[in-house]
Point group: D2
């Protein structure tokens, strides 16, 4: 079709492991059934609006390198946004990701007033409804951008100015309602500026209270409007601020417990945020599963030699196998998905690079799913773990966990029976070798 | 006295800022009154038993360099422990730190059975009682070492083996009781092996439950025996394990909330653990104060270029001024203190280096206290912060915090009044310059 | 004067240590003589063009927050550049920094051709000549920006395309000549994109040869045109690329030796680049002095918890004292200076914040100079070091250094005389305490 | 044989990819021919003496967990060393690594004098000769331990005391001669304490001269005794010291050039040291190949979340494939090999864990070799790279590289022909996807 933007790319097909076609899948066969569900149902892939269609490849040292003709300093911004929407859906459809994700400000230009901004978003939302109908692409999650406009430089809900809080509240209300209108399955909060640049001008306790209050308002509103999707917080330790309050999964889970919100909010884990926080991607996923707050995944990767968010496409099958394994063990994703919060490298300025990057990411996750499914079926890890902790099913273990034992009784036991446990091999190398049989 | 170990060092005296005597204090005048309390009461300094008297200066690449004659591979270990106790109290007395701290295994050799270990600890405890009486030195906190013996290689309370849990419980019970007997003002838990080396052999959820149960047992026992001191958890992100569960203050505070223990346990913050966790020392202290869990401090410093616990003596007056400022703002230390969890560099093998290191640390904290007191009195920071958040005292701010506002009402307000906040300078450089006037 | 941009700020004055005027110097008295030179001569302060006048406070997550009316998406860019130049010199004059620094693309808009770009630069250069004459402000160094334009996305001199190399050469030739025309005292090369994003598409050996050839061309041209200033390479380990070839001072010095250029090029050390490379600022300065390549300093600081270039104003007097001490020991700066390659925090959007940031930095360096001068005069460190290495002045030491000893002779000596050296205290804590007496 | 230490382990066999036997190779078939050489010839595996037989699993927070009965605080240390040697060769033989490596102090106890230490080493050397004869195991490299004994706490060749330098020289002379006697193919220098703990007591320039002089002595002695093996320096950035002079490959190569030693010394690259230095393993290997100093490899891995040397077994086939690819491209290893400088995790205290760890590492490298060989044969990367730099084969490129072009001529060319290069895709994601087809 002459009017297509990616006119040299057709719908991406599954061609199997031996394909050398850079524009085909080698592992992602959306209809292949794995452990009783199709790959499509397991992986629930999403492409993002922002990095793909709103960012020209600029970095802090240089201007954009990508050819995105709808990004213009002047001209009718709403028309350009319409053009962008059309290209985005062409991309989603050809890539075959069943979902997409967006911030309010990604999709429509900000107006002179919030009312005007809302109107712009509503306008594009209608276009989305048509495109979603036409293509079958669905909304994984929406969110409000509370960090790019200069007004948010000191945060949104944690801003020193209550009027700014009110502004943020109004923006989130609208983004949540638009998400609901579009059938979004989750709503995400990423607090890019909810943190501090310096403790010298910051009242931590005050900001913490503001943040909790904001969260409660969003929860109340979700129920009020009947939104059935999941609310998600996206942990990140720093960048753009020196310190972000949603540092990592454990911090977020703790905050939720502090305010009694642990049943209302889950986490959206991003691989690159995990490593910036000093954790492995695997750790953050396993922690979220263990704490019952696993929600969704921003599937990307960082660069272990670089201390900022590089948002590269996932390509480490070994690590992603363990990530998938944790998720499968925990029952799989429900409303969440794997959203590619990924950027092309700034040098990757060929138009089809955008497809190639995503294909690599999708195949990485698909192969990881296949590996993980086999790990579930053969159960070499879970059998080992079960046996390792077997003692906790016995009388002593149960008496400890159910609260009948106490320091006195345990001390008496040890002293009287001269209990003297010795080290037992944790078999780390063996288990690592076993995992390498599956990747 | 001919039998003294540090026979070339006399009791350290305050000589004032201009002294060049390396064995004198320039700022720490224990009787100087600052904001209504003496320096001694504010700072509550402690010296530790382990690095000072139980470690010969070995590192993972080399043998010990220090001359500690009571550390011998063979010989009567209990007699050597007696000799060590005597030297330790000679040191505390000459250094004039009002407190000390210890692990059970620091002070007495482990026996073939736990019963024998307890007996050894009890024996030294009696010697301590005499020395404490004689010198007036008090116990800031005691603790149990659940990480050095091979039996703890997979953790104490989070061990896969409930018998090991029981052993750890018996050891903690005794250490807590000994701490109580010696009038200790706190009891610390540092979970050096409470974490994992690999997720492959670990059940995070199971270990989390074990850990919570352990904590509750300790709390119950504390009350049962009438110990009035504070229970403290010491956050550390990793080392020796790949990942420790008590990662940082926010994680610990969240865990306490998850289990309803937030009123029973506080944190013992170590500067070097803060930086290993990707935080500043200032951040961890400020977070603990804001979350109401500030307990005590392990005053040391790391090396920002090295990724392990270097435990150097604090010497950064600028940073420690801000640390002291946060603590003073929060009302000062209560049962906690500044414990020097510090190691001499391995090359610092002259006998008086141990005094010199501590004197530097004590003067750093004393000067920081003086600076912070002035920051409290002049209030340039708190005035700025108060004004910055002033809006939250007004009607809009109050309606948000007290829950009368919601997303609908705030959205209506913004849209109707076209509220459109602009960026306001956070004045970071100005505040930093102001702080530099005080350090 | 009504037409001034910083109309509420007058020329900054020295008011002494007790001043609380945020727009006055407390330590920087340009005429104060220290070790035989004025502070102005020692410190040779420069302000930079780029962060101060070409950057609106944007970061990768948000738009600019600063009020710089000469940055406009449309309009006559050359006229805007003239306006910018005027404001810049108003700033330099009021701040009293004797020098400034710039990239070619900072000062004038890029044209459609390189010829046009050169013409634009030439036009502004003439304005500079007038302003420099009027104000007495001088040029510390100039440089060419080979990283912002998309054409440089794969590097300048290390680009896979020799035409791009030629383009970079042409740009550097012009920037070097403009620097010469303006009496610049140095010319800097910062290879922001001279590195790689992935090894997969990179020929390291080829790029290394290109880079060496480029450097030689610049050296040849410098001599050809009679430029007497110093050529400087600015080490940085990464950002924007994954890996930059000029990783740190040791790497650059080694590269210069590999190509026999060690007498022609020196380094421009930036504090924040030092810490990104895993070094302390002090280390990089000391290394450059020891290797004889110390040239100039980009005086700023990073944030030890953030893994990117934060370019904050220096404010750590303790560290900068040691930096100044190394420089004084090595004879002081010659053609180099202290250039503030510093950015305001994005929230610092008040117009006078730019002065306040610089004043803090200048006072930090001035106080550090005073401290370091005292360290030089009293010589507590150098006396210690001299004594520590005294053995190398003796016969054995000399025989080793002058090459008369060899493994055989030394082995014979040790075995025959049973030489058996023991550890000697390095006195690190003592020396740290001594330094704290001076800061 | 009843007297064997690893009596439940037989010689490890190759069983093929589908084997689930933890004590068999899945990929390492020593006789399989790959690109014209056997795997054994390509990989030249070595096991190390130190971590395997001289370390009981202690870390800085706890005592050893491993059952190594020849490590005893008392008793006849030389007899224990004999026992150790026997077990070591039992291990090498069963593991089928063709090589081993050692430090002088690993193999024999230190005596009261250096003469006695030499005699002990000589005694064990004779035992080695017998065992090497019996088993066919060869020596990849020997080295002297200049870091564990307290006398080396301030370094060996960079020590402030020339007598210590002499002592180090005598020790290296003997270790080099023993290596020669045993037919060692390389001699390694790892400067664990050649660095500084604090700049305050250090004369960098002096120590650099000492180090260069030491290196020259070793080179001279090597030639004098007719040792044909390669001298290797092992880069490491820090640990145990704050800063080590042999920071990374680029630093070492630069130092060699500074002193004209680039043809005499190569590097022994350790994966974990690479990542501690802020580099990828791949980067260090590629840099060494590009600079012509690639010597040998200490094959292990670090933990990206831990800031110290964890020395884990390599298990990342994706990364090691690229490492092998660089080495194959550069012609393969000559005198070097892949030495497992690896430690079991402290919890891995079962006796066969030592085999399991090495088998995992050997299979990882063997599979990587197979993958890399295919990358060489199919040449998808090298074809891309060749084409990317094709311009440098043309007239313009050649004129630049051969020195006929200069800034003037290039500038003229660009201005006259209005050369204006545009960005070209670097195709990073495409290349990453291609690599994933091979791993």
């Amino acid at each position: 079709m002459s009017e297509q933007f990616f006119n040299n790319v057709n719908k991406i097909q599954f061609e199997g492991e031996n394909s050398t076609n850079p524009l085909a899948f080698r592992y992602y066969d959306e209809n292949q059934v794995v452990l009783g569900k199709t790959m499509k149902e397991h992986l629930r892939f999403a492409a993002c609006y922002w990095h793909n269609f709103c960012w020209k490849g600029s970095d802090i040292f240089g201007a954009g390198t990508f050819d995105l003709p709808w990004i213009q300093p002047t001209g009718n911004q709403l028309q350009l946004a319409e053009q962008k929407a059309k290209v985005a859906f062409e991309f989603f459809e050809k890539l075959t990701t069943p979902y997409f994700c967006f911030h309010d400000t990604d999709i429509a230009p900000e107006g002179r007033t919030l009312k005007e901004s809302h109107a712009n978003v509503n306008h594009i939302t209608e276009i989305f409804q048509g495109e979603m109908q036409r293509t079958g692409v669905k909304l994984l999650w929406g969110t409000a951008n509370l960090f790019s406009n200069p007004r948010f430089c000191a945060g949104g809900s944690t801003n020193p100015d209550p009027e700014l809080f009110a502004y943020a509240a109004a923006q989130v209300k609208h983004a949540l309602e638009v998400t609901h209108r579009l059938g979004g399955e989750n709503y995400v909060m990423w607090g890019g500026r909810e943190g501090y640049d310096t403790l010298l001008n910051t009242d931590l306790k005050q900001e913490s209270e503001q943040y909790a209050r904001f969260l409660k308002m969003v929860i109340e509103h979700k129920h009020k409007i009947g939104f059935k999707g999941t609310l998600l917080i996206e942990p990140k330790p720093q960048e753009p601020t020196k310190h972000q309050y949603d540092y990592d999964t454990a911090t977020v889970a703790g905050f939720l417990h502090e305010h009694g919100l642990q049943d209302e909010v889950k986490v959206n884990i991003e691989a690159n945020h995990a490593t910036l926080a000093g954790h492995s991607f695997h750790h953050e996923i396993a922690t979220a599963c263990a704490k019952g707050v696993m929600g969704s995944v921003d599937a990307n990767r960082g660069d272990m030699q670089n201390g900022w968010d590089t948002d590269q496409f996932p390509n480490d099958v070994a690590e992603c196998t363990l990530v998938m394994y944790e998720i499968l063990k925990a029952g799989g994703l429900t409303t969440g998905g794997f959203n590619f919060d990924t950027k092309l490298r700034r040098q990757s300025c060929a138009r089809d690079d955008l497809f190639i990057g995503h294909i690599g990411g999708m195949d990485t996750m698909a192969k990881s799913l296949l590996n993980a499914a086999k790990l579930i079926e053969d159960a070499p890890l879970s059998n080992f773990v079960e046996q390792r902790y077997a003692g906790w099913k016995n009388e002593l273990g149960q008496s400890i966990l159910n609260g009948t034992a106490n320091l006195d009784s345990l001390s008496q036991l040890v002293l009287e029976q001269d209990i003297n446990p010795k080290q037992v091999s944790g078999r780390q190398e063996l288990l690592e070798n076993i995992v390498n049989r599956y990747v």
